[in-house]
């Protein structure tokens, strides 16, 4: 199995990333593997006892976000699937890239100034190098997009 890994979060800023992956798939005849990574850090200052329930609901929301992206790919004749995972976004992109022996990984362009975000300018270059090294895949940056 090979293909294109495209990690998305949903929302308008993910649309250019999705479209870049679809365009790439059209030109390479590869399958797009959309990835949604669940992160529930926002609970750190509120309720802490409902982690399982929140993961369950977030998984479902992630599935739906992926389905919307898959719908878009299907409408343009591109085969795709979706995976929901838990963990750190960077680690999960690399893990999926290895598992499917991805040829390409499509990433969004940085927008956030948050230095914890792997998609910031400084981190993106290092992350790109990590993907190329650990997955042996080419990294494509989507113009004006954010994951």
């Amino acid at each position: 199995m090979s293909g294109i890994v495209c990690a998305i979060r949903g929302g308008p800023s993910s649309q250019p990333t999705i479209q870049t992956a679809i365009d790439l798939a059209k030109s390479t005849n590869l399958t797009v593997h959309f990835l949604y990574v669940v992160n529930i850090n926002f609970l750190s200052h509120t309720s802490s006892s409902r982690v399982d329930l929140v993961y369950h609901e977030m998984d479902r929301m992630g599935e739906f976000i992926l389905l919307v992206a898959q719908d878009k790919a299907q409408a343009q004749g591109v085969p795709s699937d979706g995976t929901v995972r838990h963990g750190k976004v960077g680690d999960e992109i690399v893990a999926l890239g290895r598992e499917i022996k991805a040829e390409y990984v499509v990433l969004g362009q940085p927008q956030s100034a948050d230095d914890k975000d792997i998609f910031t300018h400084d981190h993106l270059q290092k992350f790109k190098e990590r993907i190329e090294k650990e997955c042996n895949a080419k990294v494509v940056l989507a113009e004006g997009a954010h994951p």
Binding site: S13, H45, S47, L53, E57, F64, V68, D71
Partner: protein, 565 residues
């Protein structure tokens, strides 16, 4: 018990019904030998009875103690004197955080005592002493509020840190200087409102069994179906359901379950989820206060002021509905452009939505519905048989546990112990500022500002709480304000006994709509929306929430004025 209980009444009751009022030792003495007892009541300058005041009898100008007693929670002390009495007698009255008093016993009273009689002293008022402990407790309380507001620490950790600092200062600091003493552990525990703790605990267990049935997701999909994709109708229906759920369950749980499915419906319809999520969370904050169990602040207020479930329904719900109507109109206007959009949902997405909007445990839902109905009946009627809400909640939770027989470990684990610990620590920190007199000073200042104008009192309480709840977490704020409101209620002439508490309920809950950090439900909603690619900035929420706050608080204020005056 009335604080203006006269000396003669007190003496009369002690003589006639002494066997029930006096401690067993005194009662036995009355049966066998003459009594030499001094009775009295000690209040603070605001008329609140003071517990734990040390009353020491000694010969005037001498320091050796003849007898010693301590006031009970109602401020009453009973001092039994020895047979041999000196020619002059004085009482030294002492308590931490109050100025000590020396009360000389009149010669005629001393004669009565020498003849084996009982004397009742006029009420004794102790003035507050503002010492180092006052400033230490005040600073600790402010640090706790800042840590919570800045999100540098989890709420529970901030409160635990606060109470630990109070104990460190009280126990370790006392060895350095007596003036650092705030309170001991035993005294701190008296500030914990166990009715609140057990009510929240019972409701958490009940909710843990309801939330897994899929009812929230099913209702959200049902709202989509009955609105037939018309967004102007879908929005109020979702707001109404979220609000009703919030009136019986906690707002955070409601939004944890409603937000993901609302995002899915929005994405399927091709609209910005914010246009549904923001009105939903604001409705949750508004309608949540229509019942005793809807918000932690109402639970605090209800327990402190003895406001029952039906009192909230009768006195507050109409005002809440009026505010909700205003909120719907405002939301329709604010999101009018987004609501004009319409699109058909693709078959694939609709199938997925239907799959996610299914009742997963219909039998459990049915049982939870019956138990929930029984709980509401008991909440309403329970007051007639003095059944406290905490017992009703525990009864409901246990009944459902026995009926459904879920995995008990899982259900107990679903209890948000972090929140319960937060409440325990919070009660003690607020107790510390009550102990040192900060709450009394604030109450006195507000009382001076308001004078005897009851309408001004309502305005000040409702709008000040709403404004402060924008930046201060509303639970610690409400907990600290309860004794203040109690004092204002007691001292402002002709103010309805509960109206200011309703004002506090409205202000502290509706104030949560004023900013992103104003309510935990806002933070949860924003967190989930962000994970769906729709970040909610502080300014965005402020822009949408502040007008909603003004509209809803104003409408609720109008209702309270009309209803109580």
């Amino acid at each position: 018990m009335n604080r203006f209980w006269g000396c003669s009444s007190l003496l009369f009751l002690l003589c006639i019904g002494g066997s029930t009022l006096l401690p067993p030792a005194i009662t036995r003495a009355a049966e066998s030998s003459p009594q030499r007892v001094i009775i009295g009541t000690i209040y603070d300058s605001q008329g609140n009875p003071i517990e734990g005041v040390s009353v020491i009898a000694h010969a005037s100008q001498a320091s050796n103690t003849l007898a010693e007693a301590e006031t009970q929670s109602n401020g009453i002390f009973s001092l039994e004197l020895p047979e041999e009495l000196p020619p002059n007698l004085s009482l030294t009255i002492e308590r931490a955080h109050f100025k000590s008093e020396e009360v000389p016993i009149q010669t005629s009273d001393l004669s009565t005592l020498k003849n084996g009689g009982i004397i009742a002293l006029p009420e004794i008022i102790l003035d507050r002493h503002i010492g180092i402990a006052f400033w230490v407790a005040t600073v600790i309380f402010i640090i706790m509020l800042v840590l919570i507001a800045s999100e540098k620490f989890h709420n529970t950790l901030a409160a635990l840190l606060g109470v630990t600092l109070v104990f460190v200062v009280s126990y370790l600091g006392r060895s350095v200087s007596e003036s650092l003493y705030i309170y001991d552990f035993k005294r701190a525990l008296t500030y914990v409102d166990w009715n609140v703790i057990f009510l929240i605990l019972g409701m958490m267990i009940y909710i843990a069994m309801v939330e897994k049935t899929g009812i929230f997701q099913w209702t959200a999909l049902w709202a989509y179906r009955i609105s037939r994709g018309r967004l102007w109708l879908l929005m109020p229906v979702l707001m109404l359901f979220t609000g009703i759920a919030s009136a019986f369950l906690d707002n955070v749980t409601t939004m944890l379950l409603m937000t993901p499915i609302t995002v899915q419906i929005s994405l399927a319809m091709g609209i910005n989820p914010m246009s549904l999520l923001i009105p939903e969370v604001m409705a949750s904050n508004v309608i949540g206060i229509s019942t005793l169990i809807g918000t932690p602040t109402n639970i605090l207020i209800g327990s402190y002021a003895h406001i029952s479930f039906s009192d909230f329904l009768k006195n507050l719900t109409p005002g809440v509905l009026l505010a909700f109507l205003g909120l719907i109109i405002y939301s329709e206007f604010t999101y009018r452009r987004e609501l004009k959009k319409s699109s058909n949902i693709s078959t694939t997405l609709l199938e997925k939505l239907t799959e996610h909007g299914r009742i997963t445990e219909p039998q459990h839902l049915k049982k939870a519905g019956w138990v929930g109905l029984g709980m509401i009946i008991l909440f309403v009627l329970g007051e007639k048989i003095h059944l406290v809400p905490a017992v009703t909640a525990l009864l409901g939770a246990t009944t459902l546990l026995v009926w459904i027989k879920p995995d008990l470990e899982e259900m107990i684990a679903a209890v948000d112990w972090t929140t319960l610990v937060f409440f325990l620590a919070l009660f003690m920190v607020v107790g510390a500022i009550q102990e040192v007199g900060l709450v009394s000073i604030i109450a006195g200042l507000i009382r001076k500002l308001i004078g005897e104008n009851k309408i001004l009192a309502m305005f000040v309480v409702i709008w000040a709480s709403a404004s402060l709840s924008i930046v201060i977490a509303n639970i610690p704020f409400t907990a600290a304000m309860l004794p203040v409101i109690g004092y204002l209620t007691k001292t402002i002439p002709s103010v309805h006994t509960k109206v200011l508490f309703y004002c506090l309920s409205v202000g502290s809950a509706f104030g949560g709509n004023g900013s992103l950090i104003g309510a935990s439900a806002n933070m949860v909603t924003a967190g989930i929306a962000d994970r769906a690619g729709y970040p909610v900035t502080y300014m965005y929420f402020l822009k949408k929430g502040l007008p909603a706050l003004i509209i809803t608080v104003a409408l609720a204020n109008i209702w309270l004025l009309l209803h109580f005056f």
